[in-house]
Amino acid sequence: MTAIVTTDLAKRYAEVNALDGVTLALEEHRIHGLLGRNGAGKTTLMKLLTGQVFASSGSMEVLGGDPVENVDVLSQTAFIQESQKYPDTFRPIDVLRIAAGAYPKWDQAYADRLVERFQLPTKRLIKKLSRGQLSGIGIVVGLASRAPLTFFDEPYLGLDAVARRMFYDELLHDFAEHPRTVVLSTHHIDEVANLLEHVVILDQGKVLLDADTDELHDAALTVSGRADDVDAFLAGREPLEHTRLGSLATATLAARDGDERAAREAGLDISPVSLQALFVHLTTANASATDPATPVATA
C-alpha cells in the first residue's frame, strides 16, 4: 500500500512558489529520505501532508484520506518539526503527557526509556532548554508515538554526533519491531544514507529525484583519468560536473547502461558517487540550469 500520494501538489505564497507540481507516491513501512537545500520546500510539503497548511492546487492522499481536518489520518500521523513552538510555561513533561493522549499507539514505557537515554530534563521550562534538548523532546514524541506515519523534519538540530547516532539506532531498532512509514528530512545526508530505502530530492519546490537508494548506487558515477581521455569519453554525454587539474580531469555524470564499461575500456578510473555527492551535483546542476547568471560548471 502507498502511505502518501500527491498529484501536482502546489503551495504558493505571496512572494514565492514554495511547492510547484509535486507528484509523489511513498510506499508504507519504509524509511523515506526527504532531501533538499534550505528553502527547497521540504517543510512546506510536510506541513501540507499533515494538514497544517492548505494546498494552493493539486491533491494529496495520506493513509488513504485527505489529511486536512481528518481525525482518522492525523491521529495516525506524527510530525516532528525543528521549528515546533511550545507554550512559554510548558515543561517537556507537559508535552509528553498531551502527546500520550493524542496518539493511540503511544508507548509510555518506551518514552520513559528514551527520556533517560537522551537525558531530557523533563521538569525544566522548555524555553530554558538547549537546542539539543529541544530536539530531544521531538525525538521522544516522534518515536514513542509509534504513529503509522511519522515525519521527522531535522529532528536532531543541536545534537552531537553521539546523540545523533543514538537516534539512528533507536529509529532502526523501533522501526524493525514496529514497522511504520517514516519520512526523514535532514542535512546530514551521509549519516542517514544507509538508513533510507527511498529518497526524494526537492529543489526549488520541484521533485528533482525520486528513487530507491539501491538504484541510486548505479545512478551516477565519477570517472577520472587523463584529460584527453575524459574529454573523449564525455563526447555525447552530459556531465553533472567536470573539473580539470593540469592534464588530469574528473567528471561526474548520470549513468546510463554501458557507461561504466565504456569508461573502463577508455582506461578511466571509476568511483561510485555517494548520496551526499549526488545530492550536491544534482542541486548544483539544477541551480545553474535554471539560473542564467551562473555559468555551467564545466571549469
Partner: protein, 246 residues
Amino acid sequence: MRIRNVIQLHTVNRMQAFGWPLLIMLVSLAIVLVIGGLVINVATSQGAESLTEARQGMNTGMMFNGAIFALLGPLIGFGFTAMGQYFPLALGLGLTRREFATGTVLVFVFNAAFYAVIVTVGKVIEVATGGYGLGVRFFDVVYTGVGEWWQTLIQTFILILGVALVGAAITTAFHRWGQPFLWVFWIALAVVVVGILAGALLSEGFRGLVVDVAAMGWVPWMVVAAGIGAIGGAIWLALVRRAQAR
C-alpha cells in the same frame, strides 16, 4: 474527537491555569485590605465622626476600584495565549482545528464559570461583612456588578468569556493578516471612540443619546456585552477553521 487532549493542553499546567491568577488576586486583595486598614487606623485616631466618614468615602470611591483586574487581567491573556501558543502545538500534535476550537471553547466557558463563582462568593462575603469590617470594596465593583449576587455571577461570566473570545479572534486575525490587521483594528477603534467623544462634545442631542445609552440599565448592557462576545466568538471560529501553521 480528542477534546480531552485539547482541554489537557490548556490545563496541564495547573499553576498557569488556576494557581497564578488566584494567587495574584489574593495578593491584590491583601493590598486593598492593608490600605483600608491604614485609612481606618488613621481615621480612628481622629475621632468617631471621621471614622464613619472614612468608611463611607471608601465605600463609595472603591465602587470603581480596579484591583479586581489583577484577576481579570491574566484571564484576558487566556484568549491571546490560546491562539498564540497552544494552537501551534495542537496542530503539531496532530489535533484538528475543529477539535482545538471545540475544546478551547469548553475551556473558556469553564474558566469563565469558575472565576465568576469565585468573584461572586467573594462579593457575597464582602457585602455581608461590610467590606471586611473596613468598608473597602474589591469584588463588589462596577466591572463585576454592584447589584444582586446573581447579577455579579452573570456579569463576570459574560465579561470573562467575551474577553477570551474577542482576544482569541484578534490573535487569530493577527496571525492571518499580520501587522496590517492590527493597524486597521486600532485605527477603527480610535475612530469609533473619537467619533463618540467628538459627537458628545459638539452636539447636544448626541450627548443626550450617549448619556441615555450609558444609563440604559443592567439587562441591555449585558445583552450588548454578550453580543460583542458572540460576534468575537463567531469571527474566531470562522477564522480558526482556516488558520494555517506559520
